[in-house]
């Protein structure tokens, strides 16, 4: 993908750059505004038809053919076919036309069917009814007739027919709830707001009275960005202008929830809606295997051309003698004699090309595609990758990359939601240094009221009490959580205050839910937002009401959010909550040091911390704030920037209240997975936006860093002290000294004696490193950085922006070994790296479906990555490598005898085999066994692959498709074809081999060669097969049998529509001769011998670890009978695991070890002693942290 395109994409996600290129004016209700305002310029907009189909009935055939022949392979075969049609060639056009026709037809049928489905879906969407307000009445229309400016009535649970601006809702406060599950997978309810001035319109009539225009930007694909302005005309006054933002924009495809109905006006229709603009497909990724395959193809193309050239040249040299050019028995026609010698030479060259073209078979492409497509089902079918909780298994979005899963060298993983569960649990809070821990769940019941508070410190004084309550209120108010009530029909709100779990909190941020729930456990319950008043139930069971005045939304740049509320007593407060780094600089008072110490302590333990601060506002200050915000919100240009500036001015001079700690647990088996990936020789990098301490703690817990790992640090903290230059070189020296003295083993990190390095780098330093060279000295920062990284077994990049994640991936991809990278993540911020990496894996997480949608493969949990790579990836790679090599091999075997035959037929392009054999060799005689092999081969059993991740290294670096191995296969093919040809040659040499003295002709010769060929090639595959299921037996022996039966049939009938009968009885006559049988047996065995010998000797002398395991596997199998029924087999697996994986240390213990290391060896991170003994309140958690056993 083009880098700038990527950056645009990412900038839309994160930076908030304005894309207001052009604007459009929409006249609500298609009515022109009152005269005297602006000139009414009707604009033309597309209708609301969605077209996702590619073809129409009329253009299907030409367009589809054009698309198909744009592929180089198809085009090549088309050319060959045309050459056969035009000039007089040795083989009939059928031989290449039929396979080509078959391939094209099958593809066309598949694509046609898919397009037909798309048409059906389009029609269903385009014809579904919508309710449009016209002349004060509701009119039903088909969706495709909806126009920009129409006012639409949408009822509960209906889907929005186009992008709409919300005018009014059935709810008094002008809000409505929407789920965008079909757009980005987030099933949570989002709140949208109606325009203030129109929210009171409740009937069709009222709405129809509205005179207004909307000015907004032209459509752009970013779902979360929208700016516009509505001008409302009332009674010939100056129009009232109101800002419109994405909170007013209902997106096509989203569904209305919990709201009876809404009125809204269409602004983007049809293909201009944001959903349609997001249809665009991703750029295609190609696997390393495919690249090798193409390289091999080029080699074969060269072989093909040189074969044809050699033969053409030799033909003319040989024909120099007129007795050879035209012996008396083989007269030429006059026409042939008169043809110019150059033309003859050229047609001869083409004829040779045609004769040898089968060396690049059509069927290889088909087989590879089928293998990938069918093979990918094993991922979706995998029961072990099925997640009970989600009710979903793994998803395959691209099957082109299956084998790339077996080639991964670098794994880039996100932290939150990927390594961790993104299932937040409130752990503690700290008010002015006093730590509060809500009681753990006792016997499954949450203790209510004040008894839930476990004071660690002695109770604070009355002043402290006030601060404490302010802190709790702040957390109850400063959020965007919604309360979802299960049943509201009877009007009685059965809710939180009744202690029943009938209603629950919903938010796009799980942290907020955890905090609000944590507050509930500490006695302050957030009830609801009603009429712009937030209601809180305090410890005394009294309802407190705060008027919500402003919400300063969270964004990832500011990393904080604020609310401004008015208490019932009329005091104005600003509550601000955010990351420590964004709060502390803005604080002017409060017990900063104590809170900071606590925050850092918590961060080291891997908790997510947030700081809370407030400030009281005077009426005057509030007025200023309102002005600031309003002017920013109304801006059409650069609104985001202006808002950010306004926020910056407002959120300052705060008073620190305290901090919270929320735990994000490690995902189940995350540590085990990372350990396996390490053992498999992969380098795991964690890229996270989190702060260093938290991320580092997660890395320790997930075994990314070990006790023995020496941590190298490349952070702003260090670069402030020393220059970046010095730090880099120093680290470089440290790493290289160690590795230089030892043998250059890339994966030495595993054995205990080696010093094993881990690198921590933060976003700011990274961008300094990545910055293009200013002067000569810094020119090779990137190189040094890469060198350091290459020698580190684990790298942690924290404080990363999404774009930087992609940059890192790109940097590694472009480094000189060109390693294969894999990125795994769950959130929208990971999309960039998922798209950038060779293989992108999405976790179907809590943060929506964006990552999963943009990924190549999606898995429910991080732990599934292990099976995905170690088992599926390994299998796919082995399978496709054999598939590719074997295909080239079998076609060398097929075509080379034909080449040799030219030397014995006067270079006359005489085909050795009959047309039927030429056509069907790749299509049916030898196609199914290799396809089946490439689908179900298992050279080592699945359990062993999982148990011994180091086997993954056996296939690293595309090793089964190296040139050496390719050349081995090619030479094997050449040897075999020499055996076939010269074996048959000597058998036929000047003699008969029947007992009645009759003589065989050239077709018997060809058939003999062909029979030996088919048997050898099939048996060669049988020798390579390690996993013989009944299907393998059926297919391998079946295809040999098919060959025999076909040959009997083909030669057994006088075919009425053929003008030659050259194969008649040839096969049977051949089989009636004893020496033919003996010859076939002998030649097959000679052809197979060298390969068998090579295999046995290599296995004995230089066994790979895979082969060693195969030997040992026999022993395991003596325990497990071959035909153990499935359930029994499954049940015995855990025993295996238990024996082979060291019993894991208890979470508690590993945690302690981690601390000691953290303080001891590196020395860079010494934290001030924490407040209070850390034991009491937290023991329950220490055990719970490591859940990966």
């Amino acid at each position: 993908m083009d880098f700038s395109a990527l950056r645009n994409l990412i900038s839309r996600y994160c930076t908030g750059e304005e894309n207001w290129v052009d604007s459009r004016t929409v006249y609500i209700g298609q009515r022109e505004p009152p005269p005297g305002t602006e000139a009414y310029i009707p604009q033309r907009f597309p209708d609301n038809r969605i077209v996702s189909s590619k073809y129409t009935f009329w253009n299907f055939v030409p367009k589809n053919l054009f698309e198909q022949f744009r592929r180089v392979a198809n085009f090549y075969f088309l050319i060959i076919f045309l050459v056969q049609l035009i000039i007089d060639t040795p083989t009939s056009p059928v031989t290449s036309g039929l396979p080509l026709f078959f391939v094209i037809t099958v593809t066309a049928i598949k694509q046609g069917y898919e397009d037909w489905l798309r048409h059906k879906a389009d029609n269903a969407v385009n014809q579904c009814p919508v309710h449009i307000i016209q002349h004060g009445k509701v009119v039903r229309k088909q969706s495709r007739k909806l126009r920009v400016g129409d006012i639409v009535l949408v009822k509960e649970d209906e889907t929005f027919p186009s992008d709409l601006i919300l005018l009014s809702t059935s709810r008094d406060d002008g809000t409505c709830f929407v789920t965008t599950a079909s757009l980005d997978g987030e099933s949570s309810h989002k709140t949208y707001y109606a325009v203030q001035d129109t929210k009171s319109f409740n009937t069709e009539k009222e709405v129809d009275m509205l005179r207004a225009t909307i000015e907004c930007e032209q459509p752009q694909p970013d779902l979360y960005k929208f700016v516009g302005r509505i001008n409302i005309y009332q009674d010939r006054d100056e129009p009232i202008a109101r800002p419109l933002g994405s909170e007013n924009l209902l997106l096509r495809g989203a569904t209305l929830k919990n709201t009876e109905f809404v009125y809204a006006v269409a602004i983007y229709t049809g293909m201009e809606s944001k959903m349609a603009l997001n249809y665009q497909s991703k750029s295609q990724k190609r696997s390393a295997v495919e690249k090798s395959m193409n390289a091999f193809l080029v080699v074969y193309l060269c072989i093909l051309i040189s074969k044809a050239l050699i033969n053409t040249t030799l033909k003319y040299v040989w024909q120099a003698d007129p007795n050879r050019d035209e012996p008396w028995y083989n007269g030429k026609t006059d026409h042939e004699r008169q043809r110019h010698v150059m033309i003859r030479a050229f047609t001869d060259f083409l004829a040779f090309m045609v004769l040898f073209n089968y060396i690049i078979p059509v069927s290889m492409y088909v087989t590879v595609e089928m293998q990938k497509f069918l093979g990918s089902y094993f991922i979706t079918w995998d029961d072990e990758m099925f997640d009970e909780e989600l009710g979903e298994g793994a998803l395959v979005n691209t099957s082109d990359l299956n084998e790339e899963l077996g080639q991964v060298e670098y794994v880039f993983t996100d932290k939150t939601g990927t390594l961790t569960e993104n299932n937040m649990e409130f752990i503690e809070c700290c008010v002015d240094g006093h730590v509060y821990v809500p009681h753990a769940i006792c016997n499954g019941q949450i203790l209510s009221g004040s008894s839930g508070i476990d004071m660690i410190d002695s109770s604070p004084g009355p002043d402290g009490k006030e601060r404490e309550e302010l802190f709790f209120r702040a957390l109850c108010l400063c959020h965007t959580v919604q309360v979802k009530e299960e049943e509201t029909v009877d009007g009685i709100k059965r809710g939180i205050h009744q202690g029943k779990a009938t209603s629950f909190y919903i938010s796009s941020s799980p942290d907020e839910v955890a905090l609000v729930e944590g507050m509930k456990r500490l006695g302050f319950t957030y009830l609801r937002l009603k009429d712009n008043h937030m209601e809180i139930l305090n410890r005394e069971d009294e309802v407190e009401r705060f008027e919500l005045l402003e919400v300063l939304n969270f964004d990832s740049v500011r990393r904080r959010m604020s609310v401004i509320v008015r208490s019932s007593s009329g005091h104005l407060y600003l509550f601000c909550k955010g990351a420590d780094s964004s709060i502390f600089p803005r604080v002017i008072s409060g017990k900063v040091d104590r809170v900071r110490a606590r925050v850092e302590h918590n961060a080291v333990e891997g908790l997510r911390t947030l700081c809370v601060a407030y400030k009281a506002l005077s009426q005057e200050e509030y007025h200023n704030v309102c002005q600031l915000l309003d002017s920013a919100k109304l801006a059409l240009q650069d609104r985001d920037r202006k808002l950010a500036e306004a926020y910056d001015l407002i959120e300052r001079d705060l008073i620190l209240l305290g901090a919270t700690a929320v735990e994000d647990r490690l995902q189940e088996k995350a540590a085990d997975t990372i350990e396996s990936l390490h053992k498999a020789g992969m380098k795991v990098w964690v890229l996270t936006g989190d702060k260093m301490e938290t991320a580092a703690a997660t890395c320790y817990a997930s075994k990314l860093f070990r006790r023995s790992t020496q941590i190298l640090e490349l952070t702003t903290k260090r670069t402030e002290e020393q220059s970046l230059h010095d730090v880099l070189f120093e680290l470089g020296r440290t790493v290289l000294r160690q590795h230089g003295s030892l043998t250059h083993d890339a994966f030495s990190g595993l054995s205990g004696e080696f010093q094993d390095y881990g690198l921590i780098i933060d976003g700011a330093t990274l961008s300094a490193v990545m910055k293009p060279a200013q002067d000569d000295s810094s020119g090779n920062y990137k190189e040094i950085f890469l060198e350091i990284c290459r020698n580190c077994s684990a790298v942690l990049c924290c404080r990363m922006a999404p774009l930087q994640k992609a940059q890192i991936v790109k940097l590694i991809k472009a480094s000189k070994e060109h390693p294969i990278t894999l990125a795994v993540g769950d959130g929208a911020n990971d999309v960039s790296m998922i798209l950038e990496a060779h293989v992108g894996i999405g976790i179907m997480g809590k943060e929506g479906r964006q990552a999963a949608r943009n990924s190549d493969y999606a898995i429910p949990k991080f732990k599934h990555l292990k099976k995905m790579l170690l088992v599926h990836g390994h299998y796919y790679y082995i399978r496709i490598a054999e598939l590719v090599q074997y295909f080239f091999y079998k076609n060398v075997c097929f075509i080379f005898p034909q080449f040799l035959y030219q030397f014995f037929c006067g270079f006359s392009q005489q085909p050795l085999y009959d047309t039927a054999y030429l056509t069907l060799y790749n299509i049916s005689f030898t196609s199914l066994p290799i396809l089946l092999y490439s689908l179900i081969e298992q050279h080592v059993s699945m359990d062993i692959l999982k148990r011994d991740p180091s086997l993954y290294r056996d296939i690293a670096k595309n090793c089964l498709l190296r040139w050496r191995i390719f050349i081995y296969w090619t030479f094997l093919g050449l040897f075999d074809s020499m055996v076939f040809f010269f074996g048959a040659y000597f058998l036929f040499d000047n003699t008969t081999f029947t007992s009645n003295g009759q003589i065989f002709g050239n077709w018997t010769f060809g058939t003999l060669v062909f029979t030996v060929l088919v048997f050898t090639v099939t048996l060669k595959l049988a020798l390579d097969t390690h996993y013989w299921t009944w299907i393998n037996h059926f297919v391998v022996w079946g295809s040999l049998l098919f060959y025999v039966v076909f040959s009997l049939l083909w030669g057994g009938v006088i075919w009425p529509f053929l003008n030659y009968q050259r194969m008649y009885y040839v096969f049977v006559q051949m089989l009636s001769s004893g020496p033919a049988w003996l010859g076939i047996g002998l030649l097959v065995i000679i052809s197979l011998l060298p390969d068998v010998l090579k295999k046995v000797l290599c296995r004995a002398l230089w066994p790979t670890s895979t082969e060693r395991i195969q030997n040992v596997e026999k022993l395991y199998q003596s325990h497990l009978s071959e035909f153990t029924p499935l359930p029994l087999l499954n049940s015995s697996l855990p025993d295996f695991e238990a024996h082979n994986i060291n019993p894991r240390r208890s979470g508690h213990r590993s945690k302690e070890l981690m601390y000691t290391h953290w303080r001891g060896t590196t020395g860079y991170c010494t934290f001030s002693s924490t407040l209070g003994p850390p034991g009491i309140g937290r023991t329950h958690r220490l055990v719970g942290l490591e859940t990966s056993v």
Partner: protein
């Protein structure tokens, strides 16, 4: 929700989970060494049998091109007198065990030349002389707009030397009867080739067609002695039409199966009388071959030798592998 989950959940069968029961053989030394031994011994056995059989086959070749080192028929080599008859004499000291087969052999003769190969019309040869012959037959397609039957280069270049064999007993020449029946494939004679059918004689059936340019007689007069051996069903014609695979080839001419010679050619002097018509001296040679056959056909030492060599190689390899295996095994145990 529950039912939806069940629907999403993939089938848990042995196939979808890739856990089908399977036989997992391995090319380990345990199997391969005994296998090689067995194959080696079996092959040597077969090879020896084949070799001995082949050694017992008698072959007598006589080159009669008339040029170069072989002077037989040199008087006819310039093709001046037609027909030219020449004699090739030979003597046998031992019995040439019967049945004796008589072949003619051509060398450097490209019957597998592509244009030559296709220059025939199988539909015509199936008895349909009324339709116009296929374009592949050109330039032997028409003469004076009349179709040639049989058309094409192959038929046109049919081998037309004839042989008769005499044994010289006390100065007199005794004709050795040559049997021309069944020298072509049964299926060719009975199914693949057919004479055109017509009321009356075969000649009527060929009415309206021309004989091939090089032929001295039309198809229906190929064998005046046997009416059933004419037209497209002439055995020599059928043999010729089965084109040879390689440029040096032999074709069966006659068998010696009857009379006094059913058991073979007894020792003595023989004269082979050749009617020399066929011109090959510009590019190759021709010869006549007497040979007997066994169950494995004619004399061919290749198969026997190859079996013996491969068998021995297998034995050697099994020994090599045994050595390697023993070493590897020891190394493994030490480790």
């Amino acid at each position: 929700m529950k039912s939806q989950q069940a629907a999403n959940r993939p089938d848990n069968t042995a196939f979808t989970q890739q856990r089908l029961p399977a036989w997992q053989p391995m090319l380990s030394a345990h199997f391969v060494i005994p296998g090689f031994l067995l194959i080696g011994m079996a092959f040597i056995g077969i090879g020896v049998a084949l070799y001995i059989t082949s050694q017992n086959i008698q072959v007598l070749e006589k080159d009669y091109t008339g040029t170069g080192q072989y002077t037989a028929c040199s008087e006819c080599a310039d093709m001046q007198t037609i027909p030219c008859i020449c004699n090739v004499t030979f003597s046998l000291t031992t019995l040439f065990t019967g049945p004796v087969f008589l072949y003619y052999g051509l060398s450097n003769y490209y019957q597998n030349y592509r244009k030559y190969q296709v220059s025939r019309d199988d539909v015509q040869l199936w008895g349909d002389v009324t339709k116009s012959p296929g374009d592949a037959c050109a330039p032997y397609q028409y003469i004076d707009n009349k179709p040639i039957a049989p058309c094409g280069s192959i038929a046109n270049s049919m081998f037309n030397d004839t042989f008769s064999l005499y044994q010289i007993i006390n100065g007199t020449m005794k004709l050795v009867p040559l049997d021309g029946k069944g020298i072509a494939w049964w299926t060719d004679y009975n199914i693949k080739f057919r004479n055109p059918s017509a009321q009356g004689s075969l000649q009527d059936a060929f009415n309206g067609t021309m004989k091939p340019v090089n032929w001295s007689k039309p198809a229906y007069e190929l064998n005046p002695s046997d009416m059933n051996d004419n037209g497209f069903l002439n055995q020599d014609f059928l043999v010729w039409m089965r084109t040879a695979a390689l440029p040096d080839f032999q074709k069966l001419y006659r068998r010696i199966t009857s009379g006094d010679y059913a058991l073979g050619l007894p020792p003595g002097d023989y004269v082979l009388q050749i009617e020399y018509n066929y011109a090959v001296k510009d590019f190759g040679r021709k010869k006549v071959v007497f040979s007997n056959v066994t169950w494995m056909g004619g004399k061919n030492e290749f198969l026997g030798v190859a079996y013996i060599v491969v068998g021995s190689l297998c034995l050697v390899m099994s020994v090599v592998m045994l050595v390697v295996y023993a070493k590897y095994k020891f190394a493994d145990e030490n480790a």
